[in-house]
Structures are given as C-alpha cells and as structure tokens.
C-alpha cells in the first residue's frame, strides 16, 4: 500500500499508473451503456485521470487570485471551473460559494418579485380555492 502511494513498484521503478485500476473500473462501469472495457482502455483512462489531476491543480494554482500564494484553495478551483472553457464541465460540482446572508437576501428578493407579479395578476385569475 505504501508503494502505491510512493508511486514505485517492488523493484523501485516508477509505476506506469498510480491510481487503482479496480476503482477506475468501478467508476467507468457505473456509466450506462458501457458493456465492456479492454484492459488498455482502462490503463489509459487511469493515466489520463492522473494527468487531469495534475493539470487542474497547476492551472488553478497559476490562475488563483488568492493573496496567499502558498496554498491552493477551493475558490481557486471553482474559479477555474467557471472561467475556463476546458474545465466548464466541472461547474456544477465546483460551485462558487456565497455567504449564507447573501443567499437569504437573494431568496427574499425573489419572493418579493413573485409577490408583486401575483398582485398585478389579481382580478383576472383571482385566487381560486381548490376542492
């Protein structure tokens, strides 16, 4: 297990791929319509995922706007997801965070808007009680 983390095999050679193939395979198989996966495709997908992790980390770090350049933070990542076309597919799972107070304010504003619309509609549709 320590070897897997260190990225070297029994002989001390760097591994081709560090991510566990069995886990990658589970994720791939969870995709509907996929029937079978050839071993080479599995190895390449694992390798591609490692390249992706490296790319996402370094890209986010370089483009980060945090004052503290000694750290990679969540907001660096969510900025990347929002601003880069390549990483746009991550936008839903890396949403920007907003303060709870701001969110509640947004909710209230929306509620006020909806109420205004209802007021102007009164008289035409009326409020009908449903049986």
């Amino acid at each position: 297990m320590a070897d897997a983390v260190a990225g070297r095999d029994k002989c001390g050679e760097p591994r081709l791929v560090s991510l566990p193939l069995s886990r990658i395979r589970v994720i791939m198989k969870s995709s509907p319509e996929v029937s079978s996966i050839n071993q080479e495709a599995l190895v390449l997908t694992a390798k591609a995922t490692e390249l992706f992790v490296q790319y996402l980390a370094t890209y986010s770090y370089r483009h980060g706007s945090g004052k503290e350049r000694k750290a990679l933070t969540y907001s660096d990542l969510s900025n990347t997801a929002e601003e880069s076309e390549t990483f746009q597919f991550l936008a839903d799972i890396l949403p920007k965070k907003i303060l709870a107070s701001k969110y509640l304010k947004m909710l209230k504003e929306k509620r006020d808007e909806d109420e205004e619309e209802n007021d102007s509609n009164d008289g035409s549709d009326g409020d009908e009680a449903e049986s």
Binding site: E33, A41, L44, A48, S78
Partner: protein
C-alpha cells in the same frame, strides 16, 4: 450492481500525492480543495468514459479500446494528454509483451526440466497438468476486463 458512494471516489492518499508532485514545493492544499479535485477526477472519468463509448458505438464495437480513449481526449479538448498517453500505451504494451515472453520461457524451461527428471514416470500426465495450469494463468492475464 449497487456501488456505495465511497466506491466512486479515488483514494485520498494517491490523489494528494499527485497534486503535491505537480505543485511547487511548499504549496499547501486545503482539505476542501483536495476533496474537490478528487470529485472532479471522478467526474472526469465518467465524462471520458461516456465520450469514449460514443466512439466505440460509432465503430459498432461493444468494447471500449485504447483508441476510443484517445479520441475522447481530443473531443474533450485535452489534446495535451494525447502524446503522454500514447507513450504510456507503448510502455504498457512492452511490459505486457515482456510478461508474456517471460511466462512462455518459464513454461519452456519447465517442460525441459520435467522431461529430464521424469523420464521413468508417467510424464504425460504431469506435463498435461502443468500445461493446463500455465494456460489458465495466461488466460487470466489476457482476459478482457469484463463482468
């Protein structure tokens, strides 16, 4: 087949190591950032698989192969991955070839040895058993990853 939620995640230790090796020395990664990258990696696998599967279906094949994955990378606009992936594929194929040759050589050596040692005994029986076992081992290695 029901997967538990954690099965769709990749091991933290490996993800963390990959990130640390990619970033400059001394840069920290918040726990939140690491967890986010891990989730992103899982999503990437799904996206890549789905994309690769489209290429397989276009080729009227039911099994995803290496070229489907490479085509998917181009489609997803990760062309920068294609060259290192091709190199990894070559290395993997060489490794597999080496393993196969090693096990075939072992088999040859074993046959020679068995012939020499057991001329008096019912050696046909023994050889058949050995061959069966070796064939089974090879078959297990070459089997397509399947259900």
């Amino acid at each position: 087949m029901a997967e538990r939620p954690e099965d769709l995640n990749l091991p933290n230790a490996v993800i963390t190591r990959i990130i640390k090796e990619a970033l400059p020395d001394g840069v920290n990664i918040s726990k939140e950032a690491r967890s986010a990258i891990s989730r992103a990696a899982s999503v990437f696998v799904l996206y890549a698989t789905s994309c690769a599967n489209n290429f397989a279906m276009k080729g009227k094949r039911k099994t995803l192969n290496a070229s489907d994955v490479l085509s998917a990378m181009e489609e997803m606009e990760f062309q920068r991955f294609v060259t290192p992936l091709k190199e990894a594929l070559e290395a993997y194929r060489r490794e597999q070839k080496g393993k196969k040759e090693a096990s075939e050589q072992k088999k040859k050596d074993k046959d020679k040895k068995t012939d020499a040692e057991e001329q008096d005994k019912g050696r046909d029986e023994d050889n058949d058993e050995d061959e069966e076992r070796l064939e089974e081992e090879e078959q297990n290695e070459e089997e397509e990853v399947d259900n």
